[in-house]
Each structure stands twice: as structure tokens, then as C-alpha cells.
């Protein structure tokens, strides 16, 4: 009876391939989810009105049902026109990082960037 090695060269190769496959299985979805982080969600009157992928969106002006105008430019989004009195929403400027928001309280409208890849869980102000 000839002695068997615990792991032959072939075994080792298969093991290696399987390991690489495994790593791909685990990391590719993570990588993809990280890349899809740049999505802007627009809520009007507590309802989601729009969802915009900022990365794959060409520059344009979007008019919401309440007449507010949004500008999408270079992967960023801003409120550029609103009929509210205080105009605070227009002062927020362009946002693009997950967790950032633009709020227009008089128009009950919130634009927020969603995604998991962010630095803070919440902002106290």
C-alpha cells in the first residue's frame, strides 16, 4: 500500500480555484452595492416621488409635481427653484454624498442621498 499525501498538487489547485471563486462570491456584491451608493430619493408629502441614479444620469432639470425644480449635474443634485418663502432649500446647494439631505419644510419635500458608504449615521443640528 503506497502512502497517500494529505493534499495532492491537484487537490491544492482545486482548493485554490474554489477559494478564489468564494472570494469573488463574497466581495463582488459588496463592491457593486458600494458603487450604486449615489442614488437621490425625493420625498414629497411623505411619499417617494422620484429615485434618481446620479452616476448614470445626464445633466438635466427636473420639475416635481409641486413645481419645485431640481438640477442634476455631474453626479450631484440641488434644488434650484421653489415657491417657498424662506428659500432655505435653494441655499443647500448641490449634494452628492450618502446621508446628505435638502429639506424644504413649506413644500414638505426632502431630497436625500441614500447608500451605506457613509461617514456618519446621523447629523445633529
Amino acid at each position: 500500500m503506497n502512502e497517500r499525501k494529505l493534499i495532492t498538487k491537484k487537490d491544492f489547485l482545486i482548493l485554490l480555484i474554489l477559494l478564489i471563486l468564494l472570494a469573488a462570491l463574497v466581495f463582488i456584491p459588496r463592491f457593486l452595492s458600494r458603487n450604486s451608493a449615489c442614488v437621490a430619493v425625493v420625498n414629497v408629502n411623505s411619499k417617494e416621488e422620484l429615485r434618481i441614479d446620479l452616476k448614470n444620469h445626464r445633466d438635466e432639470i427636473i420639475t416635481l409635481s409641486n413645481g419645485m425644480k431640481l438640477s442634476v449635474k455631474n453626479g450631484k443634485i440641488a434644488v434650484i427653484e421653489s415657491d417657498c418663502k424662506d428659500k432655505l432649500c435653494e441655499n443647500f446647494g448641490y449634494i452628492s454624498t450618502p446621508g446628505q439631505v435638502i429639506a424644504c419644510v413649506p413644500n414638505a419635500t426632502i431630497v436625500s442621498i441614500v447608500g451605506s458608504d457613509k461617514d456618519i449615521d446621523a447629523l445633529s443640528y
Partner: protein, 343 residues
């Protein structure tokens, strides 16, 4: 025979594949934002089950909507609105509203009359609650200050009677109470959720765990930066409540003079000191919200004992960008904007 030799190895790897992929499936987060209580509210829930994350997220928003119908002074048909319309008479209240009014009165009594739960008449004259800012005349202010005295409020566990023209105002604590409500609701559904973070107009409530950790990172708004900027990060653990009061919020200029929304009942005018913001983390949202306002009005030195009493911690930010912390906060606090210095 070669194939059979491989079977144990291959099956082992396949099993570990399965195990790992079940791990990477882990939890799902779900965020929703809405305007509630006259401010921006956002709720993010973490759960192993997407349906639960969505249902509980919407449940929190509903709770906050219900709360507004209790404590709002501007919303017609809200309990506090009705009490204010019926000032001078006795009004029956439920135990929940009693708790909010009583607790706010208690915390504000530490201010020596500079803050009160019945400050509505003065804040309305300044247009603070409706964002219709104006500067009242001195005569107007002097006539309104006595109407903001909590000594004139007769409160029992099921009734309240204010003086004629007096107006209850839970504006300084409403956002914090909303965080309390949200966390209370989530505690009752703890089986279906891992954790959540709630922001009600910048008052933050944290609950449970997310991504396998029980800490949450709360950014502290940079008073000189844009609306989404922060100058420091505070790490909080488990259930926690954080609120900020600052003179950079709700401000306006009239006749070349700057005004903000935090009124001192001793003068009837916005507080004037070297602070620009105070952030407080406390055991409840009501306390964090009330104490951040209280600390802003009283200043750092006079707030120390009160913070200890409530087991709360504060971050004092001065106009010159120097920052001072309560004892015990240093290890969980990190400045990210180098223009600010810890003193």
C-alpha cells in the same frame, strides 16, 4: 478513485461557501424621509428582514405624526393648540401630555425663569414658530414676559389651567420627545429589528445595533458650514439621544442687527453670549433637547451641576471655534474640521 478523494475537500468548501453567503446576506437597512412636526424627519431601520425594516420605519413615522397632534401649538385640533385657545380655563389632559409638560417644566425650572414651558406668547410675538420673524417693540416684550411664567400654570396629573393669554410651548423639546416616542415604539418591536437611527430636525435617537456593532456615529453640525457639514463626530452606544441648540439655526437680520430663535425670558430677547452651539447627549430625547437649550442659555459654567444631575454630557462650541467637553466625553469625541480646537 481520484474523485472520491476530492469529495471531502469539495464538500467542505461548498459548505463554507454556503455559510459565508448566509452571513453576507445579513441585515437590510431602509431609510425614509418626510416632513413631520414642521421639520425634516428621517428614519433608518436595520433588520434581517426587509419587510420588517419597511413596516417599522413607517410605524415610526406614524408615531411621530400622532405625537404632533398632541403637542403642537400650531396644528389646529392638536391638544396643546386647544389648551392655548382655551387659556384661563381648566383643560383635561392625558397622562402622556402630563408627563411631557411636567418634565419640561422641571428641567426648565433649573434656568431661574429664563426658560419655561409656557413661553408661547413671546415666541409667537417674535414669529419663531412660524418662521415669520419680526422684532417686537420693548413695550410688547415687557407685557409678554409675565405671560411666560410657569408659576402661573396649574398642572395636575389629569388637568392643566394656564393664565388668560398664556401659551404652552413644547417647541424646545418636541423633536426630542419624537425621538423618545420612536425608540419606545421600536423597543416594543425589538424582535423584528436590529437597530435604527432617527433624526427629527437634527435631534437624534439611536437604538440597538447595525452592521454588527452597537455604536453609532453622530456628526455635530459645523455652525459656520453648510447645512450638511459637520465639524466633529460623537460616538454613542446603544440607546442614546443627542440634540443640538445653536444660534446659527432660525436666524434673521433686521435693521442690520442679527437675531436668532433661542429667547431668554429674563430679557425677552435672543440669548447673547459667546456660544454658537451646544450639543447634549442624555438618557431621553426630551432631556437632551431641553438640556441643550438650557446649556445654551446658562453657559458652560452654570450648566455643569445640572448636567451631572441628569447624567448628561455636553459639547460647548464657542463663536471663536473653540470647543469644550463635559468630563467623560473625550474618548468618544473627535474633531474632523481642523479649524476647531478643543480647550
Amino acid at each position: 478513485m481520484k474523485l472520491s478523494k476530492l469529495i471531502p475537500t469539495v464538500s467542505l468548501i461548498l459548505l463554507s461557501c454556503l455559510w459565508l453567503s448566509s452571513c453576507s446576506k445579513k441585515e437590510i437597512s431602509n431609510t425614509s424621509s418626510a416632513v413631520k412636526m414642521g421639520t425634516a424627519v428621517s428614519v433608518k431601520t436595520y433588520s434581517a428582514d426587509e419587510k420588517n425594516a419597511v413596516v417599522l420605519r413607517d410605524g415610526v413615522l406614524d408615531e411621530i405624526g400622532k405625537l404632533d397632534m398632541l403637542i403642537s401649538k400650531n396644528q389646529e385640533n392638536a391638544e396643546v393648540y386647544k389648551i392655548n385657545q382655551n387659556s384661563g380655563n381648566k383643560n383635561s389632559i392625558n397622562s402622556e401630555l402630563y408627563t411631557y409638560i411636567n418634565k419640561t417644566k422641571e428641567v426648565f425650572s433649573e434656568s431661574g425663569g429664563r426658560l419655561s414651558v409656557s413661553s408661547g406668547a413671546l415666541t409667537e410675538a417674535w414669529g419663531v414658530d412660524t418662521d415669520n420673524f419680526r422684532v417686537p417693540t420693548d413695550d410688547e416684550i415687557n407685557a409678554l414676559i409675565p405671560m411666560c411664567d410657569d408659576g402661573k400654570v396649574v398642572l395636575t396629573e389629569n388637568s392643566i389651567q394656564t393664565a388668560v393669554g398664556q401659551k404652552l410651548n413644547l417647541g424646545a423639546v418636541g423633536k426630542g420627545i419624537a425621538c423618545d416616542k420612536a425608540v419606545e415604539y421600536l423597543k416594543n418591536h425589538a424582535d423584528s429589528i436590529n437597530g435604527a437611527v432617527i433624526s427629527v430636525g437634527g435631534s437624534i435617537g439611536c437604538f440597538g445595533t447595525h452592521d454588527g456593532k452597537d455604536t453609532w456615529t453622530v456628526g455635530i453640525r459645523d455652525p459656520y458650514g453648510d447645512e450638511n457639514s459637520y465639524f466633529a463626530k460623537l460616538t454613542v452606544k446603544g440607546i442614546s439621544f443627542t440634540s443640538t441648540s445653536g444660534s446659527y439655526e432660525k436666524k434673521f437680520t433686521f435693521d442690520g442687527k442679527n437675531y436668532h430663535h433661542i429667547l431668554d425670558l429674563k430679557t425677552g430677547y435672543p440669548v447673547e453670549n459667546d456660544l454658537i452651539s451646544v450639543t447634549v447627549t442624555a438618557n431621553s430625547g426630551l432631556e437632551s433637547d431641553a438640556l441643550s437649550t438650557l446649556c445654551f442659555v446658562l453657559g458652560e459654567k452654570n450648566s455643569k451641576d445640572i448636567l451631572l444631575k441628569y447624567n448628561a454630557y455636553a459639547i460647548f462650541v464657542y463663536k471663536d471655534k473653540s470647543v469644550s467637553l463635559s468630563d467623560g466625553l473625550k474618548d468618544s469625541f473627535e474633531i474632523t474640521n481642523k479649524e476647531y480646537t478643543l480647550i
